[in-house]
């Protein structure tokens, strides 16, 4: 196992602990927006997708990359927009009748 891989593993494990600490504090009320919002974050794969789509080494790699970019982008845009749509519905007082 190379030193580089060990560093990546260290980062991964520490980030998991940060995740546990932060997310344990989110109340039940907000768990659905939490899921869609964290889902959008998992769309960070877009970075990897962009790199392979833009490297232009082989046609096949580019095609796979473009599909990956589209998939990840649906995840990112869809996730953030739908989370915002849900969160704007959470209000302390009932609205005046529409």
């Amino acid at each position: 196992m190379s030193e580089g891989l060990v560093i990546l593993l260290v980062i991964f494990v520490l980030a998991m602990f940060v995740g546990f600490e932060v997310i344990a504090k989110v109340p039940n009320t907000l768990h659905t927006p939490l899921m869609s919002g964290s889902n959008a974050i998992s769309g960070i794969t877009i970075i990897g997708a962009m790199i392979v789509a833009g490297m232009g080494t082989t046609t096949l790699a580019t095609i796979l990359g473009v599909i990956a970019v589209a998939f990840a982008m649906i995840n990112v845009v869809g996730g953030y927009v739908v989370t915002d749509r849900m969160l704007q519905m959470f209000k302390t007082k009932p609205e005046a009748k529409r």
Binding site: M16, T29, M35, G48, I51, F71
Partner: protein, 464 residues
């Protein structure tokens, strides 16, 4: 330049963490989501400066198509369909990771290239987790949408088959290390990952989908993290780990709420549990009869109560009766009745789903109380109104060790002075378990479609 990009990823990851922190309170949650989105934008823009990227046209094509589709789904999806939506998004995230791994493998497998062990293992992990997430999420969404039968699909040696497939995948991976090339072998590995995803989710029943969606949420994060290992990118690893952790926590919460162990979920043992549930279905207290009540009498009970707690279940959402509930709530509040909602963790089809559905119907969130907050309040409550819920209020979970739901935490509605069930018929709930609470002397049943019953109640309370 490389250092600048790395710093941008650090900023993005920090914004994700700060954004998730702000999700801890409804007042700051929207801002938190925005922070997280800004982080994502920074990460995407910074990547455009990556020197490995030579042409942008294909990135733009994929990006525009993806954005348009994402925007369209997010704008049009119904709140009741949110679990399917999250499921599909999970799957696409996993699919993207699998594709990136395949693209990197293909590039590295050019003639004369040697695949370093670390990269190979990362690619295999990304292929497996990404593929399982993709196909598993599609099956889960199909079950939730009822395109695929919701009942558990079981056959013999299911787990053995999964194990054989995984071992086959692992040996193919080892073979590729010794003898590089062979795209056919790599494609087979990808297919195995997809098949395993289907096999893992298909034995799980529709009612257990909330747990599966949480678990796949976690997998989608882990898939992103493995992509980070493939391309040695810290930003991906941190963000993926955050989502992975989030999914694991939600899975644990759901497991606790449904009284199942975490390992039970991981090994897809739900089928067996569901069978027990069906077998226990006949063991109800036969010969007893439930007391029926008219909408008029219910409205009098409600209108002259001091406090009412509404316990909604997914039946409420199926009947599309959220707005009628809110209307009844407003009428009662006007008469000085204190109205609260008791939200069981599995009241909807995913964690927090019922809260979103009621928020959409304009119910203020401070009136929605968790099980732990509200259970002590039932004994001081005049009327508990149970709408479209059954198992989550079944006292058998507390006092009948033979019941399949024994040990599941429930809403203590039986402590209220009166209990009203709005129910379509006497049929037991999804798990097929009878509810002794129906035959309690404090309980009255108002039969009919939840929405129709609530409309009647609203009209009656207006004149009461």
């Amino acid at each position: 330049m490389a250092g600048f990009i790395e710093l941008a990823y650090l900023v993005a990851a920090s914004l994700f963490i700060l954004g998730l922190k702000r999700l801890a309170a409804p007042a700051t949650a929207r801002q938190g989501n925005l922070l997280s989105a800004v982080g994502m934008l920074i990460a995407i823009v910074a990547t455009l400066f990556d020197q490995q990227i030579l042409s942008f046209q294909w990135i733009v094509v994929g990006g525009v198509i993806g954005s348009a589709l994402g925007l369209w789904i997010a704008r049009t999806v119904k709140m009741t369909a949110m679990p399917q939506m999250v499921g599909i998004l999970n799957g696409l995230g996993g699919g993207a990771s699998q594709l990136v791994a395949a693209a990197v493998w293909h590039r590295l497998m050019q003639p004369g290239a040697i695949l370093p062990l670390d990269t190979a293992v990362s690619i295999y992990a990304s292929t497996l987790i990404g593929g399982v997430t993709l196909s598993g999420s599609i099956v889960a969404a199909g079950k939730l949408q009822e395109i695929i039968p919701g009942r558990p699909v079981l056959f013999r040696f299911q787990h053995v088959l999964n194990l054989i497939l995984l071992l086959a995948g692992a040996s193919m991976g080892t073979y590729l290390l010794i003898s590089p090339g062979h795209p056919g072998v790599f494609i087979t590995m990808n297919l195995i990952a997809l098949i395993v995803g289907v096999l893992v989710v298909i034995p799980i029943g529709g009612a257990d989908m909330p747990v599966v969606i949480c678990l796949l949420n976690s997998y989608s994060g882990l898939a992103a993290a493995t992509t980070g290992f493939v391309i040695s990118n810290h930003g991906l690893i941190i963000s993926g780990a955050l989502v992975g952790a989030s999914g694991i926590i939600l899975t644990q919460i759901m497991c606790r709420a449904m009284n199942r162990s975490f390992t039970n979920v991981l090994f897809g043992g739900f089928g067996a549990v569901s069978k027990v549930a069906l077998a226990g279905g006949t063991a109800g207290p036969s010969g007893k009869s439930a007391q029926e009540i008219s909408a008029e009498d219910v409205s009098i009970l409600l209108a002259y109560a001091r406090s009412v707690i509404i316990a909604p279940g997914y039946g409420l959402a199926v009947a599309q009766a959220q707005h009628q509930v809110r209307e009844l709530d407003e009428l009662l509040e006007k008469r000085g009745v204190e109205v609260k909602y008791a939200i069981h963790p599995v009241a909807g089809r995913m964690p927090g789903h019922m809260n979103v559905l009621l928020a959409e119907a304009n119910v203020p969130y401070p009136k929605l109380l968790d099980m732990e907050q509200i259970n002590s309040q039932f004994e001081r409550t005049d009327v508990a109104l149970v709408v479209g819920a059954n198992d989550v209020v079944n006292p058998a979970a507390r006092n009948n060790p033979n019941s399949p739901i024994y040990g599941m935490p429930i809403l203590d509605v039986d402590n209220a002075r009166h209990i009203i069930f709005l129910k379509r018929s006497m049929n037991p709930g999804f798990a097929g378990i009878d509810n002794e609470l129906f035959y309690n002397e404090k309980t009255f049943m108002l039969f009919g479609d939840a929405r129709d019953s609530l409309i009647k109640l609203v009209n009656e309370v207006k004149t009461a």
